[in-house]
């Protein structure tokens, strides 16, 4: 049986994969039927846009090993191209169905990917990161100078309801926009997943791991990086086009450094080592940016802190934490460590309460002092100028700190035991 693989490897119909994609699609369809409030629809729409953006960013960071500080340049310029085309279509000057507008954004992003990417991808590593930062600053400045294209500080507004309704779809109601975003999100996800299994996608991994050897198997590593960036910029542009439709306004903020920083945060929090990592990251990030920002002006502080903790203690992101637990479950060890997780989680909540109390009281005293010192947190009214709330905060810090430290040691010990067992079982 020479030449025949020992086991069947090429499955034309991969049941697990179809199930995963089918379930993802089902969740996307069903969610707005469960959470029907306008606020939930807004949140989910932004999650969908961010998923596309974060996945496109991970083509660079995770797959290609390119740390970019300026990825919002491509989504943002894509959004601007889309908004101008939409306005032309709205004025009846060109024909353009709204459903296809994200594609316009994608082509816009790809165009600037060809242009800027040619410069940035000349080098890899730190130099690449520096040049992307330079390009980001450049475009950010350009946005304040060129009013015709960027619309000055107030940006460019638009109206997404154009043309005649098709099958009753006007794209006026938020839920219709959500479904448009969901379709584009699903298609983009599938295409980006497929890309990671193409020759270019695999060679991008090779260039990430060992650029020198890639040159000696026939690949021009500059080209590999450039082409990867163009495709990544295309999908970033699609997310930009979707945001144009969703917000009906594009302001220079979309090309800002903080937008570029946001996608880096989201992607890293989710985990760059797995395809689904950035999807989780995008969901968490949108939750911070959309939901949490309704409750506290310090949401960026919490996000930043969360990011720092992830980088320090779980550099593989949420995805790697999940995958590690799945491995424990598969080897029937999860239930042994689960109680310790629970203890760590509970004591972690105490620490979180201490953190929130401290941050919100500080915020009330400094930024929000015009509104007095009486504030409401978790349904309790209190005066943060008094000593008692601060004493409570200190108490929570101490108790939470001690308990969490104990629980953390337990988790580490049991984790170590389990790993040793698994290693011995393998040997």
């Amino acid at each position: 049986m020479a030449g025949v693989p020992s086991k069947l490897r090429y499955r034309p119909f991969n049941l697990g994969r179809w199930l995963t994609w089918g379930l993802t699609a089902l969740v996307m369809v069903v969610l707005p039927q469960i959470f029907t409030q306008g606020y939930a629809i807004t949140l989910m729409s932004q999650m969908g846009i961010m998923i596309v953006f974060a996945l496109s960013y991970n083509m660079l960071l995770g797959q290609g090993g390119m740390l970019s500080f300026g990825h919002a340049v491509y989504s943002g310029l894509g959004a601007y191209v889309a908004v101008h085309i939409l306005n032309l279509a709205g004025a009846g000057k060109i024909w353009m169905p709204l459903s296809l507008l994200p594609l316009v954004g994608g082509l816009g992003g790809a165009f600037f990917g060809v242009l800027f990417g040619y410069v940035t991808t000349k080098r890899a590593g730190t130099t690449f990161a520096m040049i992307t930062l330079g390009i980001a600053v450049l475009v950010d400045t350009w946005a304040t100078m060129s009013r015709a294209f960027f619309g000055g500080e107030q940006g460019v507004s638009t109206d997404r309801v154009i043309g005649k309704p098709f099958l009753g779809i006007t794209y006026g109601p938020g839920v219709q926009v959500y479904y448009l975003i969901a379709v584009w999100c699903l298609v983009s996800m599938a295409l980006m997943y497929a890309w990671s299994h193409t020759p270019l996608g695999r060679i991008a991994n090779a260039v990430r791991d060992n650029p020198e050897r890639a040159e000696f198997i026939g690949y021009d590593t500059q080209r590999v990086r450039w082409f990867t960036l163009i495709i990544s910029a295309f999908f970033a542009g699609i997310s930009g086009g979707l945001s144009t439709i969703n917000f009906e306004i594009v302001t220079p903020d979309v090309v800002s450094l903080s937008a570029s920083g946001g996608v880096l945060l989201a992607t890293f929090i989710g985990g760059i080592g797995f395809f689904f990592g950035p999807i989780l990251g995008a969901v968490v990030f949108s939750f911070f940016a959309v939901a949490l920002s309704n409750y506290t002006n310090a949401w960026q502080f919490y996000l930043g802190l969360f990011f720092v903790l992830m980088v320090m203690y779980a550099p593989g992101g949420i995805a790697s934490i999940i995958v590690m637990q799945l491995q424990l479950i598969a080897r029937k060890r999860f239930w042994r460590i689960a109680p310790h997780y629970l203890a760590a989680g509970a004591s972690g909540l105490v620490l979180l309460a201490a953190l929130i109390l401290t941050v919100e009281m500080t915020y009330q005293l400094s930024e929000n002092s015009a509104n007095g010192t009486v504030m409401n947190l978790f349904g309790v009214n209190f005066d943060c100028a008094k000593a008692l709330p601060w004493a409570v905060a200190v108490g929570l810090w101490i108790v939470g700190g001690i308990l969490f430290n104990l629980a953390r040691q337990r988790v580490a010990r049991v984790w170590g035991e389990i790993q040793t067992e698994l290693l011995q079982a393998r040997a």
Binding site: T198, P199, N205, E212, E215, I217, Y219, D220, F227
Partner: protein, 250 residues
């Protein structure tokens, strides 16, 4: 194909004021197995780096199958049919053995920068990768990440990646360095097998390996070729003996 597989004409290389390679002339015939030997620091690896485009030459010309490859980049030289291995293992550590080899066949099969093919559908690439994997004896390690292979296995994979693209001229830099006696014997058999019908140039220290494999031997000392001849003539060459045994005062 009357041209030499590889021809070096007065090739030189200096780093700053230090001349490492001093006017090397060398012609290697099609299908020849050629060994490059010399004391440590003679410039053997540097010469490989010049031929494969890792470093630019300071002077002289390099011809591959009669065409100049002087000044070309590594990937351009590779596409013209020259492939090399490295003295220090240089593989894709995080990828599986199979993925390493599949990456190495993609360009030569014409898939280039394709983002419209799915890898699992590429029957020719998958078959080639499987064949090379079989040839280098790593079939049982198909899905193992290259970084966790044993040293000898990594050296075999290093050779596998080098030959997978089907290059006609193969440069192997110390393929058996650091190997045990049995591992070396296996490696020699592997090299003999995979260099069938190809031109092979290897840097090697193990004289057993050299006299076993090489049709001709070149001796490089302080960046100069002092001899290039058949093994039996090299063995009796006075200058070579002096260089190796150090009878010449320096």
């Amino acid at each position: 194909m009357n041209a030499h597989a590889l021809e070096l004409k007065a090739v030189s290389k200096s780093f700053g004021n230090t001349a490492i390679i001093r006017g090397v002339d060398l012609a290697i015939a099609q299908g020849e197995r050629h060994a490059l030997i010399g004391p440590n620091g003679a410039g053997k690896s540097t010469l490989f780096n010049l031929i494969s485009g890792r470093y630019p030459v300071s002077g002289g010309k390099i011809l591959l199958n009669g065409d100049s490859i002087t000044g070309l980049k590594p990937f351009e030289i590779n596409r013209k049919g020259l492939s090399r291995s490295f003295q220090i293992t240089n593989i894709f550590q995080r990828m599986s053995v199979f993925e390493n080899l599949r990456c190495a066949v993609l360009w030569s099969l014409g898939y280039k920068y394709s983002f419209w093919h799915q890898l699992k559908e590429l029957k020719d690439a998958n078959r080639s990768a499987e064949e090379v994997m079989e040839a280098i004896g790593l079939k049982g390690r198909r899905d193992t990440p290259a970084g966790v292979l044993s040293y000898a296995e990594q050296r075999a994979l290093e050779i596998g990646i080098t030959i997978a693209g089907g290059a006609g001229v193969i440069l192997l830099d110390e393929p058996t360095a650091g190997m045990s006696r049995t591992e070396t014997a296996d490696a020699v058999e592997l090299i003999r097998k995979v260099s069938q019908g190809k031109t092979l140039i290897m840097v090697e220290h193990d004289m057993g390996v050299i006299f076993d494999l090489a049709d001709r031997i070149s001796v490089l000392v302080y960046g100069e070729l002092i001899a290039s001849d058949k093994p039996e003539n090299i063995r009796g060459n006075q200058a070579v003996q002096e260089a190796y045994l150090g009878t010449e005062a320096h």
